[in-house]
């Protein structure tokens, strides 16, 4: 994709790998100024990106990250809330902490980041917030009650934000990836990955770039009239739900 007419300041949380990193790179290729946050490990390959260490479960660290980005790149205009963790297990064996930690990192963190981001967006009367959810939020998944709950929660959060800030020209949307070839999936046994690919009508796993493309579209001028939607990027896996 070529350069865009209006370069924006973009923040991608959890941008050090997988879908987040692919998204950050695609924004950068389009000529935007891009910052990424990472919790523990700075990406080796992040040329042209501003990498900021930030644990999104800590409001103070989010504040500090925004201050740094503001200073180095300008006020954040596009936020991709992508940081997330899994702690899979069957419900009967799932501890309270396994549930609440995943909710905190995947859902509450999205709320914290959005709350911080809208302050600047309101002043600029322009903003784009995109949450990276998952089709398991709608479909459910044995062994992922915590993760699925957190990803479903993002939909209610996003749609409420969409209504609350619509008058300030801020759109809020959700991308719901299906099985994508990332580290998160590499952690699964090969058989499980193959079974997943077979459950996809398009017959394969998606690539992080294919999710990034939809995220970049939602941030673009072309998507100005789109808000509060969930776009599955799943090869047809969750069609109709």
């Amino acid at each position: 994709m070529g350069r865009v007419s209006t370069p924006r300041t973009v923040l991608v949380t959890g941008g050090n790998r997988g879908i987040g990193l692919a998204t950050a790179k695609q924004f950068a290729t389009q000529g935007h100024r891009v910052a990424i946050t990472y919790r523990s490990e700075a990406p080796a390959d992040c040329e042209g990106l501003l990498a900021v260490r930030c644990d999104v479960t800590d409001a103070q660290q989010i504040d500090d990250a925004f201050a740094q980005i503001d200073k180095e790149l300008g006020p954040v205009e596009v936020v991709v809330s992508n940081a997330g963790i899994t702690r899979d297990g069957l419900v009967l064996r799932m501890k309270d902490d396994d549930f609440t930690d995943v909710l905190d990192a995947n859902l509450t963190a999205g709320f914290r980041v959005a709350r911080r981001a809208v302050k600047g967006m309101m002043k600029g009367r322009w903003g784009r917030i995109i949450f990276v959810s998952s089709i398991v939020g709608a479909a459910g998944q044995a062994g992922q009650a915590n993760y699925a709950a957190s990803k479903a929660g993002l939909v209610g959060l996003a749609r409420s934000l969409a209504k609350e800030f619509a008058s300030r020209n801020i759109t809020v949307n959700i991308v719901a990836p299906g099985p994508i070839a990332t580290d998160m999936l590499d952690a699964l046994p090969e058989e499980r990955r193959q079974a997943m690919a077979q459950a996809v009508p398009l017959g394969r796993l998606g690539s992080p770039d294919e999710v990034a493309g939809v995220i970049c579209f939602l941030a673009s001028d072309a998507a100005a009239f789109v808000t509060g939607v969930v776009i599955p990027v799943d090869g047809g896996m969750a069609m109709g739900i």
Binding site: M122, E164, R168
Partner: protein, 79 residues
Amino acid sequence: MSDQDLFERFKRRAVEVLSVEDAQVKLEAKFADDLDADSLDLVEFVMALEEEFDINVEEQELEGVDTIGAAFELVKSKI
């Protein structure tokens, strides 16, 4: 600090956050009718005042605060 100085600071933030003219920021001005401010504007304004005067305003204290004068009284009571 005199009331007048306080009001000048208060007014400066009102002009900036609510995008209104100096002359519109009168004690009797109503946020909704005279200043065209919606609920989001008010939240932004309160946050700006909290920052300006280093005060903390609770949600329930804002009940019935619908004019510049009422907001200014609330701020004064906190300083």
